[in-house]
Symmetry: C2
Subunit: 640 residues, 2 copies
Amino acid sequence: MSAVERQLDELEETITDEVPAGISISDVKYEGPELVIYTRDPKEFAADGDLVRRLASKLRKRITVRPDPDSLSGPETARERIRDIIPEAAGVTDLDFHADTGEVVIEAGKPGMVIGRHGSTLREITQEVGWTPEVVRTPPIESSTVSNVRNFLKQEREDRRDILERVGRQIHREEMADEQWVRITTLGCCREVGRAAFVLSTAETRVLIDCGDKPGAEDEVPYLQVPEALGAGAQNLDAVVLTHAHLDHSALVPLLFKYGYDGPIYCTEPTRDLMGLLTLDYLDVAAKEGRAPPYESGMVREAIKHCIDIEYGDVTDIAPDIKLTLHNAGHILGSSIAHFHVGDGLYNVAFSGDIHYTDTRLFNGAVNEFPRVETLVLESTYGGRNDYQTDQEDSERDLKRVINETYERDGTVLIPAFAVGRSQEIMLVLEEAMREGEIPSMPVHLDGMIWEATAIHTTYPEYLRDDLQDRIFHEDRNPFLADEFNHIDGGEEERQEVADGGPCIVLSTSGMVEGGPIMSWLRHLGPDPDNRMVFVGYQAQGTLGRRIQNGWDEIPMNDRGEGRGGTLTLNLDVETVDGFSGHADRQGLENFVRTMNPRPEKVLCVHGDESSTQDLSSALYHEFNMRTFAPKNLETFRFK
Amino acid sequence: MSAVERQLDELEETITDEVPAGISISDVKYEGPELVIYTRDPKEFAADGDLVRRLASKLRKRITVRPDPDSLSGPETARERIRDIIPEAAGVTDLDFHADTGEVVIEAGKPGMVIGRHGSTLREITQEVGWTPEVVRTPPIESSTVSNVRNFLKQEREDRRDILERVGRQIHREEMADEQWVRITTLGCCREVGRAAFVLSTAETRVLIDCGDKPGAEDEVPYLQVPEALGAGAQNLDAVVLTHAHLDHSALVPLLFKYGYDGPIYCTEPTRDLMGLLTLDYLDVAAKEGRAPPYESGMVREAIKHCIDIEYGDVTDIAPDIKLTLHNAGHILGSSIAHFHVGDGLYNVAFSGDIHYTDTRLFNGAVNEFPRVETLVLESTYGGRNDYQTDQEDSERDLKRVINETYERDGTVLIPAFAVGRSQEIMLVLEEAMREGEIPSMPVHLDGMIWEATAIHTTYPEYLRDDLQDRIFHEDRNPFLADEFNHIDGGEEERQEVADGGPCIVLSTSGMVEGGPIMSWLRHLGPDPDNRMVFVGYQAQGTLGRRIQNGWDEIPMNDRGEGRGGTLTLNLDVETVDGFSGHADRQGLENFVRTMNPRPEKVLCVHGDESSTQDLSSALYHEFNMRTFAPKNLETFRFK
Ligand SMILES: [Zn+2]
Ligand SMILES: [Zn+2]
Ligand SMILES: [Zn+2]
Ligand SMILES: [Zn+2]
Ligand SMILES: [Zn+2]
């Protein structure tokens, strides 16, 4: 009998002792980080509203209770009863019964009404039918990504259960190492922006944090081949943690599965879905640009199948000696600061991922309170001594001014924007400005992946800023459903119509004018001097966006993306409105550290160019008298 | 055809073009770092005295020429001719013919006379008989270690040729990595003395430097299990380099073979032999102390079989992108500073091993001139701010005074000493003092491994200080052959006799009075107040030596070593004479760096306790304005 089996047997005994007589336990299993208890008396189990909480606190584990399949009422009877119990207004759109695990997945427009106060409705369901209900939100805006991911996971359910059981045994294995130490190895993202990849290692465990690409330098990938990463074999890694879905953090996660990795990816649910959307697009772009993609789309599906989604604040065992907690990073939907508690009080490390310190329209500001944290790995994108951003209020005023001016001369405003994050932020600005009458009501056309990304945002309102959540929960006040927003889904024909029509606003990808529908919009809108092009996001060196920003007006239109060859003369005005960044600026980074509780002893400044990381490192050292570093790639730091 | 075979074919063509018509080349092979050329015309090859040098410089390789076995005269004829050619006075003691490689190993008391001026005698031999001569020294004092190693290597000749051929192909393989970087990982010996072990790694190659134990902490071994070392599999390592034979550098080298390592160990010849002596003794001691030895003696033989000995100053390819040169470290016989030239001018790192900066009686001071060196990994044993040692001249005066005083009261001087290094240094002091009449001539008894270690020293006089070499080359002036030195080889009986006899000096192991014959000497000499015990070496915390030094005079004699239980009362005087250290003191370490040419950009201070490494690191930083570090174990530093 293996150590894990012995452990499960003991747990089953303890649980049997703990539950009231009359509730019988038929099996106890690990599924990923959770302990699943199968009972022949699910209704009685549910009757004691506090039992699961008591067990969880006694066993110090996350617990799920499921009915023994033999004890279930048939799906048809159950379906009817469930429909009766859940209020009409919850807007149930689907009930999906899984006899193998006794689960019923309930998709509803208003999940909160399915759950009930303190879970009372869910408990009522189990008490009545025995099935274990699980609730997911029906996207208020239809999202093909969300439905593809959900269907795929449904179809791969069995495989996934095998994976989770294997991972569960791995997490709860007996600790073998007799030493204790904590190290971080940098595989990328040091003195550069891009290819985020770090290994957190102990004598027992190795965790990879992020695995991204480097925009504009496709051949510079993380140093995965060194022994500390995959050089020692893919089985060398216990877990992957993904802070957020931006490609500089996620693009090469699917590649790990090509290299033989077969373990879990921990991330939030929206990060999982956005990773699916963005990595598939990444493969698309590579193909369009004639580059050999580093992996096939099947690997994206592998990655999604191996995702274990966790919510902000949930403390999760991911190895015998490591607990992971994700916290809101304020950067994009589902973006996280990954906090690791190592050993029994041995050490704590937080990886910031990318952060925005203050609240934006979309998100609450990054969390910087932790039970303990000795070392912080901090992004430094705007860590340079002069990296102060315009206040967002000023930026919004600017943007509205530009829109009004353009409207007055009957022109159209063209905004190149990243699909995820900045587009939704701008949408919120525009919606409010129209609602408040600060700019005239006019169509806002969304082209490229923006619509889809917005749909994903509305699927996970819990990840949005508090007051925005409230509004989304009330359909009539959901800003993303405002009448002015139009999804460009009619291709060139629709674009031509828009261009021929009256004043309007166009938001289109790609954000740095490197292909995508923006190329087509340039042809439609570029020649008319009454139109305006407004840059609201960072334009990297070497991109067409940066060149246009700098005054280029003769644009070579090659065959890449929607360009059709030849040269295009731009007559429209070009403006730049700063201040909509998803990153904290220098002030924000300092404030994040200043108000951090507790203050870390050591800070590693990464995810910034050489001078930004060194500037920030030196500033934090002098201001807060902490040990700070600006690591290079391929170094290892030992903390304990 | 593999890349190496293609390369060898091309080399064969080039060589054929280069040699005079009439010399035919039958094969070209790699054996370890050397290129071996087989010719059917060895005599003609030898006739052109400059040909090998010209080929070596054209091909930039170390070259050995061997006769094609078909072209050889029979051993019996050859033996006679060789005897004729070599002068009688060379003292040939053995001729050993190896028909498989056409080599004849000539063992002689005076190898220089076998070689002849600029190699003229060797060339004459080949011209006459075709065989390739190789010369080894007959130990002036018989050494069982040397003869065991030589016999073992003779017996394993075929296996060894296979190993060398495999290693040769590995060294000369085509470079695969398309990245270039240079890193050092610390597996031990940081902020502590002991378990020296470092990995020098590039994208292409991984080299382990040293693999020692930690005296007094048997369970603290180098962190070999991490992926950067053996965690990724033993095949992950390309080469091992051993700076010197002290156990804190060598003890766990044989363990690597138990873990599956099958590659070369680069070291000097005396380091190879001393490693054999010391690791076998290490296993012995473990057995006597009832500890499970980490490996069997067969692994020591494996290690010796995989040794590739190189001489000081020889630049040796050990990987496609790494050249190794060993330089005299002045610390013990054969001790080296290991200099690595990485890439084609990419980077240079020197590992000091243990060093003595100034000349001692035994050795020239450590070399600190290099073609280039950017990073120095420096020992810090005496790096602390107050670690200044007594001048050796003063120490010698002190020692002689103690001996004279003891002699005058008819007593015996008992000196616990390490077998390797300090014993021979003291022997040289005593021999000179007697010869010069500064102390009376009297017997000096050598007990434990001291005699054997001395024999190994006399086998390799090239590794001793210049003027000492001269004296050893002239038998009548070899100080180690002085009449006063007596090898205790008669056990307890002889010791009793010595104790009962007149005034004399006893040098015995172990150096820290932790077992060995010194325990027996304590019983024989301890009770007599006319005797003196003199400590000439460092006594570590927790050792019996340190306790006696501190005034203990009731010694529990357990069954360990030669003790026989009960308590022993010491009445003899105890003195300490400092200044015979094999390590540079703080001043020596600073001087080593100050006069180093070129001055390195970075220094990693290791092999010292926490305060010593930090003191030295900070001193070097302030004095020389270089980047200095006091690394922890398990860290990785990137340099390029
Ligand atoms: Zn199903
Ligand atoms: Zn990001
Ligand atoms: Zn990023
Ligand atoms: Zn040493
Ligand atoms: Zn040492």
